[in-house]
Structures are given as structure tokens and as C-alpha cells.
């Protein structure tokens, strides 16, 4: 196989290579070799992986090819190389959550997400770098993941390595986690698609938690169709997760043609024009006008403001995270990064009354958002307040917890971790500095099919997803 062809192969969307696999135009081994070659070529600049599973991936690829040759087809991920964030338990494989605390942790069972990917025949090429314990800061032992569009910039997080890997062709998709925006923010910063499904849509079993009641797992991919393919594999009820929803999983790929015609899209001033960079705001407003051009109607809706929703989310996340970490925080505080240790200590001083009040506010805010969504099918807004910020001085590389900076970063994403509604970030253009910008669509609970159909219609009409990051040009 010529090197140039490998480069091209690594840049194709998941659904495209899935089609080529089914037509026997390419093998799983060839795809895996192309992915590993891309990792070899640029990983030293991106630091996107904690562990690359080279031998296991090639063995799994050979097995996938043998199965297909024998007539067995496990579906759209059969033989497709993907990655997973290093907080998903993998039996016999180190699972670090990018922290010194778990540096030598080797689980004895797989997370449900991992089991479902394996059952679908996906080839897991590696476990991706992330912010320590998905808690908004890099541990110096693991280091940051620079942005593939500009290596001096942040990928945000916490699914930093997953987003960078997908953007740079190191796997055709990844599974990350989102408690305040950790799938959608890095997806927006890296110019890819990131979906936070409904709370309960994807099992949390076997994932290292930040906050039991606000953690969501979901896909990061290059296209919306890829996202639909991955969600179809990892979604569904799981008896090992007490909050798993008993809701059937639709055929997301088949629903993509649903489009935007006749859809009602809600906007709100606090979620569109406040606390957002002017360049990002202009691109998002242009995207919303584009939705109208595709047949949607746009109207103002009343929503509880981020200034209520984000403190409520932090009032829940902060003590829940500390409750999980308490034994380590007492016994090994020096093994955390400074910023994560501070956040965990803040959880220890959060009054129980504030936690309960935050849970009351969560109920009220969720009811108000659901009431707004009786009038509209979708909400539209920015994903992040800015495009990718410089790594130096960024929240994720800071040694301080900085609660207000964290609250500002999750201004548009956090409210939907609080309420559990599904939300997707889609590329909507580039700044003058050629940094990607994402905008966010939100749907009613368990309406990921309609959400992805709308996102797909916009994506196909605009084509922002077709650009490749600058790290591939050097």
C-alpha cells in the first residue's frame, strides 16, 4: 500500500470507510495500519494518546477481516478503528484518567461502552489523553493535547485527546465524556462533531465518574452521519447503570434524512448574544440564518439563564466529585494536579444545603427548559464562548481552580448537563485566524434522531467539516 494512499484513507469519514469495508474495497487491517501510521506521524506533536494498542488493534482487525470473509457483518463499525477516552475501564489494559492517582490502575472488566464497541466489531486503537479525571485541568505527568489547527492553542477538554485524534485522522471516531461540556467544547475547538446524548441514553457503567448525576458519554466524529453510526452502537439500556433509560434505540442513520423543513428552532438572548466573542457570535448567528434557509423557523423562547444553570451544575458536580475522590484526597493529595486538588478541596467545603438547593434548582430549570421546548423542536446557540484559546494561560493548563473562569467556559454547554437534554456541537465556520468554531443544537430528551437529522442537514449544506487541520499540512 503506497504511503500517499494511507494518508488519504486516514482522512475519510467513518461511514465512508465502513462502506468500503462492506464492499471489500479495503480491509480492517489496512485501515488499522493507516490509522497507526498517522499516529506514528503526528502523535509526538499532539500527545493525544495515553496508550496506543498497536498489537491488539492489528489482531482485532485481522479477526474482523476473517469474520467478514466468513460472511459475518457486525454493522457499520465492523473493522473500523476508533479510540476511547482513558476513563473507560478496559480489562487488562491500564485506565489512568490521565492522573498519577490511577497511573498503574488496570481494571479487570470492560466498561459497557467498550463491550458494545467490541461487540460491534470496532477496532480500538488506543486510549486518549484527557484532562485529569475529566475535571478541567491537565496533570503534568500526562501533559496537554495541543490543538491540531494551531499547536499553540488549547483543545479545551476534557475529551482533549479524543477530539484531537479524530480531527487529525488518528481513528475514525472516539467516545468521550461530558459533565460540563467535555465532549462539545473540544469538538468545537477542533472542528469536529461532538454529541452529548440524553442523560440515561448511554450507559455510565465502567467509566471513571466526575459526577454521577451529570456525567454523559457520547461520540466525537468528523461527520454527523459518523456520529449517528457510533451512537447506534453505544446507546441503549444497561442493567449495570441504575440511571440507564428504558427507551428503545432508533435507527439513527436511517433518521438522518429528516432534515430541517418545518422544524421550529428556539433562540434566547442570554444563550446567543451575551458572554460570547463577537467573531464566534457572528458565525453562530449566520448558522442560525442558514437553518432558516433550510426550512426551519426561528423564534425567541424563554429559558432560565446560564447565570442560574451553571452555578446549579457546579453546586452538584463539585461535591459529587469530592465524594468520589475523598479517600484519595485524604491519603494522596499530592498525586493530583494543583488545580484538580483545589477543585476537590472546594467540594469538601461546599455546604450540603447548597448541594440540595442546587438539586432543587435543577428540577425547576429542567421543568422550565422542557416547557420552552413544547413550543420548539430545537434550541440553537454557541458551543463555546470563544474559539480555541492560547494554551499558555488557558484554564486547562492553569494551576488554579478558578471557579469563575470554569463557569464562563461552560456557559452554553453546562445547562444541558444540568438538564440532561441531548446536545450536539457542529462546525459552523472559521475565525480570521483560521480556528474552527462550533455551534450547538439541543433537542428534547431522547430525541437524538431529530437532533442529528437537523445537524446533518446543516452540515451537508455548508461543508465546514471537510477542511483538514493544519497539523496535517506540516
Amino acid at each position: 500500500m503506497a504511503e500517499a494512499w494511507r494518508e488519504e484513507l486516514a482522512d475519510l469519514p467513518l461511514t465512508e470507510v465502513a462502506g468500503r469495508l462492506q464492499r471489500r474495497e479495503v480491509s480492517a487491517v489496512e485501515l488499522t495500519e493507516a490509522t497507526l501510521a498517522r499516529i506514528d506521524a503526528i502523535e509526538d506533536r499532539l500527545n493525544a494518546f495515553v496508550t496506543v494498542l498497536r498489537e491488539q488493534a492489528l489482531a482485532d482487525a485481522r479477526r474482523a477481516d476473517a469474520e467478514r470473509a466468513g460472511g459475518k457483518d457486525r454493522g457499520p463499525l465492523h473493522g473500523v478503528p476508533v479510540s476511547i477516552k482513558d476513563l473507560f475501564s478496559t480489562a487488562g489494559i491500564r485506565t489512568t484518567a490521565s492522573s498519577r492517582v490511577l497511573a498503574d490502575h488496570v481494571p479487570d472488566q470492560d466498561a459497557t461502552v467498550v463491550r458494545r464497541l467490541a461487540a460491534a466489531g470496532a477496532i480500538i486503537v488506543g486510549k486518549t489523553n484527557m484532562l485529569e479525571f475529566a475535571y478541567a485541568a491537565v496533570h503534568p505527568d500526562f501533559g496537554p493535547t495541543p490543538n491540531p489547527w494551531d499547536l499553540t492553542r488549547s483543545t479545551s477538554g476534557s475529551s482533549s485527546g479524543s477530539a484531537a485524534a479524530v480531527a487529525a485522522g488518528m481513528g475514525y471516531g472516539s467516545v468521550g465524556s461530558d459533565t460540563g461540556g467535555s465532549i462539545r467544547l473540544p469538538a468545537a475547538y477542533c472542528g469536529i462533531v461532538g454529541l452529548k446524548p440524553t442523560y440515561g441514553r448511554v450507559s455510565r457503567h465502567g467509566g471513571v465518574p466526575v459526577s454521577w448525576s451529570a456525567d454523559h458519554f457520547g461520540p466525537l466524529t468528523r461527520t454527523v452521519a459518523d456520529c449517528a453510526a457510533m451512537l447506534g452502537v453505544i446507546a441503549g439500556e444497561d442493567p449495570l447503570d441504575s440511571t440507564s433509560g428504558r427507551v428503545p434505540v432508533p435507527d439513527y442513520a436511517a433518521s438522518l434524512a429528516g432534515g430541517l423543513a418545518g422544524k421550529r428552532v428556539g433562540i434566547n438572548d442570554a444563550y446567543l448574544r451575551q458572554n460570547v466573542d463577537a467573531e464566534v457570535g457572528a458565525l453562530v448567528e449566520a448558522a442560525i440564518r442558514h437553518l432558516e434557509g433550510l426550512g426551519a423557523t426561528v423564534e425567541e423562547v424563554r429559558l432560565p439563564p446560564p447565570s442560574e444553570a451553571v452555578p446549579a451544575l457546579l453546586g452538584i458536580i463539585t461535591p459529587e466529585a469530592t465524594a468520589y475522590h475523598l479517600p484519595w484526597l485524604r491519603e494522596r493529595p499530592g498525586d493530583y494536579s494543583q488545580a484538580v486538588r483545589e477543585r476537590l478541596e472546594l467540594g469538601a467545603i461546599t455546604p450540603a444545603v447548597s448541594y440540595i438547593k442546587a438539586q432543587q434548582l435543577r428540577r425547576r430549570i429542567t421543568d422550565e427548559v422542557l416547557a420552552a421546548m413544547e413550543r420548539v423542536d430545537l434550541l440553537a446557540m454557541p458551543t463555546a464562548p470563544t474559539a480555541a484559546t492560547p494554551l499558555e494561560g488557558d484554564l486547562v493548563t492553569s494551576e488554579e481552580a478558578d471557579p469563575e473562569l470554569l463557569a464562563a467556559l461552560i456557559n452554553f454547554t453546562g445547562p444541558f448537563d444540568l438538564t440532561g437534554l441531548p446536545a450536539v456541537s457542529i462546525p459552523c465556520g472559521f475565525t480570521a485566524a483560521q480556528l474552527p468554531v462550533g455551534f450547538q443544537l439541543v433537542a428534547r430528551p431522547y430525541e437524538e434522531a431529530a437532533l442529528l437529522a437537523a445537524a446533518h442537514a446543516y452540515e451537508q449544506a455548508t461543508g465546514w467539516h471537510r477542511r483538514l487541520p493544519s497539523v496535517l499540512a506540516t
Binding site: R204, H205, P209, W212, S213, P239, L240, D241, S242, T243, S307, E308, V310, P311, A312, L314, G315, T318, T322, L326, L329, R330, P333, E342, E345, L346, A348, I349, T350, P351, V353, S354, I356, K357, A358, Q359, Q360, L361, R362, R363, R364, T366, D367, E400, A401, D402, P403, E404, A407
Partner: protein, 74 residues
């Protein structure tokens, strides 16, 4: 904790140290002092939550007995 500068709660290193100790986290004087600049904005955010009157809302935390499941590992 005393109010200062509108809704911003002023908190001392000693108060931070004691609050953490109640949760079983021993900070020591130096660490408690270092945490104060983070504790103040954090507690200000919590105060914003506390200030909203939502007495009519049940907390969102869930406790179910209807499904016959016994789960301890999430």
C-alpha cells in the same frame, strides 16, 4: 462567613481549614490560606444558588425502589 462587597462572601483561611476538616480533609494553615482566593468565588456561586427561592421544587436527586435493582458500582 461575613458578607463583603455585595453578595461576595468573605471567608478566612481558618474557616476554610475547619470546613474541610469537617469533611475529613486536613488542609493545614498554608494550604487553607492558598485556597481562600478560590473558595471565595466558589462560595459566591453557591450563594447565587442559595439565593433563588425554589421551595416548591423537589430536589432532582433520585431514589427508586420500583425496579428491584441492587447496584453499588454505578
Amino acid at each position: 462567613m461575613e458578607e463583603s462587597g455585595g453578595t461576595a462572601p468573605a471567608v478566612s483561611a481558618e474557616q476554610v481549614r475547619i470546613l474541610a476538616a469537617v469533611a475529613g480533609v486536613e488542609l493545614g494553615d498554608e494550604r487553607a490560606t492558598a485556597l481562600v482566593p478560590q473558595a471565595e468565588p466558589h462560595l459566591r456561586l453557591m450563594r447565587a444558588v442559595d439565593a433563588i427561592d425554589h421551595r416548591g421544587a423537589e430536589p432532582a436527586g433520585e431514589f427508586r425502589l420500583d425496579e428491584g435493582r441492587r447496584l453499588t458500582n454505578g
